[in-house]
């Protein structure tokens, strides 16, 4: 039997537009892009020019500080643009697909015949290492480090999240191979949900499986690390998404790069939310065409409603995104006396609203902040939805005041911005907590590295 960890603090926000476990087939996109900003704190050095022919697995850019860290094209075709923004910052590198999805040839290998360093070298060579993130700092992992462990969360508990079992179906073998490969590098810890039934998860080999039972953020890998073996100062833990483990498995089983994801299109403004097979970095238009409602002004989010960023219908799927969420930007704007109106249709954790009476109801929530930013007033708001053994309010205050020693003492090494997403949602003072935590991590990293 696996160890079961019960999470009691947290919040499941019930939103309208959860995906049903069916596949909607869509036309393959023409253009694909990598956005260097998705790979947190990597300084890109572009190694292709418009007009270059590439195959899946050919590097589009590398990390300036660690050139062995390659960020590769997801498809075969021709580089059409290197888009730059202010101060020549690289925004995206766009590849036009030739429709053949050819990959560079890698050899299929038995991972058990490889050493940890050989697996690492293969991951670097294929560009899959770029999906490895690290705690502390929640940045792309450095290949030079030797991590204490690798954590994989096999479920996402966020509102409107994808069900990993849908993506896993048909990829069980690759998933296991991926885990096997990672286990050559460092001990692998797999977090599964008590609700997940797939055998590939429950009897996964060469990993330490922990079952998590409870509301969001039980699926956050940060919470799982905190419950299993918290990150101490000086330690490094790597994390990788469950779907990326499948990519690794494909590399070793089939000897090719195949970055096909199972992407969900979700949200209240989507007609028939469901899953589709989409190659990483695909232009969203083929996924979105004809499937969005036109009642409200829309907010298209690359990723989850809690952690994703606003994007546009002609933009590209983010490198780490496995869902596109569409919600109304403003619904019922210019609302009068909202501070005292009963607001029956609104969701709140506060009992000054009525949503606590209807726990089963699914809500449509727009992107309005619904209040002005204030100093922290209420206490115990964050703690109620923050299951780690950390005082979130005090950590945030230490970050705001720039007190490095206090940040360390209060456990900043264990957290990532996404761990504060729920706190940010419930915060009555409307502070931008994820931004604050990101800045704190960057500041600390600048001091320490």
């Amino acid at each position: 039997m696996h160890r079961v960890v019960k999470i009691s603090k947290g919040l499941d926000i019930k939103l309208k537009g959860a995906p049903v476990a069916t596949m909607t087939s869509i036309e393959a996109a023409k253009q694909y892009a990598l956005m260097p900003a998705d790979f947190t704190r990597v300084t890109p050095k572009v190694v292709v020019k418009p007009g270059d022919a590439v195959k899946a697995g050919d590097a589009l850019f590398v990390d300036k500080n660690a050139p062995e860290l390659r960020f590769v094209s997801p498809v075969s075709g021709k580089v059409v643009a290197v888009n730059r923004g202010e101060r020549r910052r690289v925004l995206s590198i766009v590849v036009e697909s030739d429709g053949k999805f050819e990959s560079l040839e890698y050899k299929a290998k038995d991972v058990f015949s490889l050493s940890g360093d050989e697996v690492k070298a293969d991951l670097l060579n294929s560009g899959l290492f770029a999906f490895m993130r690290q705690r502390p700092y929640d940045v792309i992992a450095s290949p030079a480090d030797a991590p204490r462990a690798i954590f994989v969360s096999a479920f996402d508990s966020k509102p409107l999240a994808v069900d990993f079992e849908v993506a896993l179906k048909g990829n069980e073998e690759d998933f296991q191979t991926g885990l096997d490969a990672l286990s050559r590098v460092a001990p692998v810890f797999l977090g599964v949900s008590a609700k997940q039934k797939a055998t590939a998860l429950n009897v996964a080999k060469n990993v330490t499986t922990t079952v998590f039972n409870g509301p969001h953020p039980a699926g956050n890998v940060g919470v799982q690390i905190n419950k299993v073996a918290p990150v101490n100062k000086g330690e490094i833990v790597w994390t990788i998404g469950a779907e990326e483990v499948i990519f690794i498995g494909r590399l070793f089983n089939k000897g090719r790069i195949d970055l096909t994801r199972t992407v969900a299109l979700v949200g209240s403004e989507v007609k028939n939310p469901s899953y589709s097979k989409v190659v990483l970095g695909a232009q969203l238009s083929t996924l979105l065409d004809g499937r969005l409602s036109d009642e409200n002004e829309l907010r298209i989010i690359d990723g989850n409603v809690l952690t994703g960023s606003k994007t546009a219908a002609d933009a590209f799927l983010g490198a780490f995104s496995n869902e596109i969420t569409v919600i109304p930007e403003i619904m019922g704007g210019d609302e009068m006396f909202g501070w005292i109106a009963p607001r029956f249709s609104m969701f709140s954790t506060s009992r000054s609203y009525f949503s606590w009476l209807l726990p089963k109801r699914e809500y449509v929530i727009d992107a309005r902040i619904k209040g002005g930013e204030r100093h922290m007033i209420m206490s115990n708001e964050y703690d109620k939805v923050f299951p780690m053994d950390i005082y979130p309010e005090y950590l945030i205050k230490a970050i705001i005041t720039g007190n490095i020693d206090k940040m360390e003492e209060l456990g900043i090494y264990e957290v990532a911005p996404e761990d504060f997403a729920l706190c940010e949602f419930v915060d009555s003072s409307k502070l931008e907590l994820q931004r604050i935590v990101r800045e704190g991590l960057d500041k600390l990293r600048a001091e320490m590295c």
Partner: protein, 395 residues
């Protein structure tokens, strides 16, 4: 609604930077957000937000204060007519209380919000809602005889020196309303103590009755401190029923236990106030009064039964509305028990052992406000130490 919105949109540019009326930006901003929820949408971080905001939280505290305020108004009239020995209907009593109370509320809000608007203008921030609560609390915790100009000075002092110098709502260390009261207590002791300020004695607009010169009536706690029977405005003994309904002399909002209990239910149900603080204030009060009852047989206040300690004076009002102020209370959940217990115990301690003034709730809360950061420090430090131990154990 649409017309109003369009009108606001039309005049808005005048209040923005460089506009004719840009000196009134904070006022316009305050009015606009009061009328309409801003249409601002999330720019970074989460894309959706909980519908709760500080405006709603503060509004619920104000709603919770209303029962105590209304009973307080009625009680002003009740005491006046009782002192004069004149019969009157309930609405006459209430109206008299209303005309007595309304100027106090207007002065408190006028002065306090005026300063808040100026501070928001200087700091280029939005107006903070905290004073909506403080501004109503201040007139409720002073005696009916407190002159308006003193309320004005005390409010100004409290808002500037207890709040704005620290950075506004959320940054203050001590409760703003209590600082206003403490200011009166130390600067103008004659209007907040003694036995002539608790009952209104003059007619206003033909309402109320003129009470003969030289009329005195002390508060229940003063009688208790003197060791005599507790008397009401008419000179007859107060019953427990009077103490619960609040028909007795005292600061305007603090007398009615029943009205305060309604407020407590609203605060706890909506989750605005912490039950941990409220509960432990009462535990602390009970524990301390039982202790004194058994150890100080000669002290008349110590011999007041513990339940009477809780329903007399400002104990209930302080426990429900003042101690639970989330900004100045302990912010850790464990700390809240210690913080609340400290207030209850300290209030009774001051009542019993301070011969100068019979009430102790105000000073107890202010003392614990100052102590709360230390309590939190201890609680948080336990977490810090545990993390440090984990690190050394590993090495």
């Amino acid at each position: 609604m649409k017309i109003l919105r369009n009108y606001l949109n039309k005049i808005k540019p005048n209040f923005e930077e460089g506009g004719k009326l840009s000196a009134l930006r904070s006022v316009f901003d305050g009015m606009e957000t009061f009328l309409f929820v801003p249409n601002d949408t999330a720019k970074c971080g989460v894309n959706i937000h909980d519908a709760i905001d500080s405006k709603r939280i503060m509004s619920f505290v104000v709603i919770a204060l209303l029962p105590a305020m209304l009973v307080g108004m009625y009680n002003i009239g009740f005491q006046n007519y009782a002192a004069a020995g004149v019969e009157a209907t309930w609405w006459q009593m209430f109206l008299y209380g209303l005309v007595n109370m309304l100027p106090k509320i207007i002065v408190s809000y006028g002065v306090g919000l005026g300063i808040e608007f100026i501070a928001a203008q200087i700091k280029k921030e939005e107006i903070h809602e905290g004073f909506l609560v403080s501004g109503l609390l201040i007139p409720m915790i002073v005696p009916v005889g407190c002159p308006l100009w003193i309320i004005a000075i005390a409010t100004a002092f409290a808002v500037i020196f207890a709040k704005e110098v620290f950075g506004g709502t959320g940054m203050n260390i001590v409760n703003v309303a209590l600082i206003a009261r403490a200011f009166i207590f130390f600067a103008y002791p004659s209007v907040i103590s003694g036995d002539t300020v608790w009952v209104a004695t003059e007619q206003i607009f033909g309402l109320g009755a003129n009470v003969p010169d030289g009329y005195t009536c002390a508060t229940a706690l003063q009688f208790a401190a003197n060791g005599t029977e507790i008397l009401g405005a008419t000179g007859s003994a107060l019953t427990t029923c009077d103490m619960l309904t609040g028909l007795m002399p005292g600061s305007i909002g603090e007398t009615s236990v029943i009205a305060i209990a309604i407020g407590a239910v609203i605060l706890l149900w909506s989750g605005v106030a912490s039950w941990k603080v409220m509960f432990s204030v009462f535990v602390g009060g009970i524990a301390m009064s039982l202790l004194f009852q058994n150890t100080l047989p000669d002290n008349p206040v110590a011999q007041v039964p513990f339940w009477q300690h809780l329903i007399l004076g400002g104990f209930c009002f302080g426990a429900v509305f003042m101690a639970t102020d989330p900004v100045t209370a302990a912010r850790t959940e464990v700390g809240k028990y210690f913080y609340g217990f400290g207030i209850g115990a300290m209030a009774i301690l001051i009542r019993v052992l301070n011969p100068g003034y019979p009430e102790g709730m105000m000073l107890a809360i202010l003392l614990m406000n100052v102590t709360a950061p230390f309590i939190d420090y201890c609680v948080v430090q336990a977490n810090v130490n545990a993390r440090a131990r984990r690190l050394t154990k590993k090495n």
